[in-house]
Amino acid sequence: MTEQQTQSAWQHLLDVRNLETQFHTEDGVVHAVNRISYTMNEGDTLGVVGESGCGKSVHALSIMRLIPNPPGKITGGEVFFRGKDLLQLTDDEMRRVRGAEIAMIFQDPMTSLNPVLTVGFQIMEALKLHQGMDEKVARARAEELLVLVGIPEARQRLDDYPHQFSGGMRQRAMIAMGLSCNPGLLIADEPTTALDVTIQAQIVDLVKRLQEKIGMAVIWITHDLGVVAGMARRVNVMYAGSIIESGPVKEIYANPHHPYTVGLLGSLPGARRDRTKRLYSIKGEPPDLVGELKGCPFAPRCAFRVERCAFEAPVLEEIDSQHIAACWEKANVRRVQ
């Protein structure tokens, strides 16, 4: 890997520009990701939040170029990682990026591990492939990695199969695999959603510590606004395939400007002091993403809707130099009480 090159050869670690992904289904074209743009620096932590179907996972799979084609297709945009456009790479070149430079961990650690291969074999696979290690060196490194992610008796555990690990341990093994080649970016797609809170706390703590140690950047995709609050430096809020608000984590939580962000934060119990009050709930349900959306995708559920929202989609505009939101009425949006 190219640690010397961090200076000025490119401005950002990751620079996503107008990324657009669509799925062709029987019902029509699903606009899963609609021209999203953002940048990330080395060592940064970005939280991506949104509800199911908002395109947060598809956006990550698009960066990794893991969208199944057909039915899916990246239909536009650029993804610059360390200065090179990932969408222009050949399949072979991309294979060398995956795992080595960008690693990804998934929600369900059971289905993302191969049940008939030992955990050790699966960790060593990447080391042998990307770093040309021989069996012995790779095994030693795999053991080191399991120790790093806090699995006790690592040497014996290398020969275990995934079913012999608990859910938390499997996710640790996945992280070990992700870290095996010192990636510059780790994309974590709902890595703790399937886990219990005490195990979730372990995993969050682990990733934070590893980040400090290794200095990699992390994209943490989740629907849990609590995890993001403790984890991320910046947050992208996604709705119906678009980023609708983005900014530093403290700013987003203290001073949200998009009605959807306001609603999401308001619907959390415990976000309010007075717990006897009703929860704020956003009316209705997320839109169907089949076909072209007209106007603001959130308009049908929005409490701040004006006439214009129905036919004219708002664009992301600055609230200050760090904070952007896509809403025509953002000057009038207030936190719900």
């Binding site: 195990i199 609590g226 934060l265 415990g270």
Partner: protein
Amino acid sequence: MTIAAPATPQTDSREVVLRVENLKKYFPIHRGVFQTHVGDVKAVDGISFTVHRGETLGLVGESGCGKTTAGRTIIRLYEPTAGRVDFLGTDMATLKGEGLRHIRQKMQMIFQDPYASLNPRMSVLRIVGEPLEVFHIAAGEERKERVAQLLELVGLNPDFMRRYPHEFSGGQRQRIGLARSLALNPDLIICDEPISALDVSIQAQVVNLLEDLQEKLGLTYVFIAHDLSMVRHISNRVAVMYLGKIMELTDRDTLYSNPQHPYTQALLSAVPVPDPVIEEKRQRIILEGDLPSPAHPPKGCNFNTRCPKAFDTCFDVDPDIVQIAPGHFCACHLVKGQA
């Protein structure tokens, strides 16, 4: 929601709807050619609590702690291994046949997975109307009318009653399940993780609906969940379970402001707070390791393998659950019971 004063057994004069006493549910493990009985999975291992009319009791814990088994054993979907379940003055645990069928009208359950709990081949009319038919309460036009009322009650358009489950979203399906459970005017509803499969904005809708219905119909809930912040919002009292046992049981505010059991403390500390300013300053208690298997619980206190405060006694003697303040129960050697 109307919040009555924190309900404690001494001060609460309301009628006891449900009294669970030393309830156990073991699943036997059989091995070998002769299927010899080699042990038990102690899913629920002696839990006791009461629920008063109009109250919501939260039952929280991590996966595998036995909270769902407890709910299912109370409603007799499972045969209890031991213990009593007094529901409206009748012991549910020993009832059989017609008696059990009769009393089940008054105790209903809603389930976690809104996709699996509705029959995909039945229309909403049949799903919601089935209980009315089974108990010969209403038929024909009358049943249709009643179903329409129920759908309206849970915030669904009665015109949808000819539709099938796949035409509804997760939140709407959960409403259909709720309408069905309300069809027989139950006193008690056991809600088994009713919102964990739903999106955040939809969760709030369903929780608000549950609270409105409670107020309107005087329902009593046992609310089983792993989401501690939602339980905090909806419950009057909360029981924390770990490996088949209740570790701590008290009113909601005391539990969250002054937890006594080391497990409750760790559990609460693990819950992320949606506020970056608080998160920055928080010190977490990170528990080591995983939940032990309920087939081989550790000797002594069930929590001793992960407890940061465990000492000698904890590895020998299983602590009894004792009352440490009025209405506050805790099972830990470190807290003293009231004389």
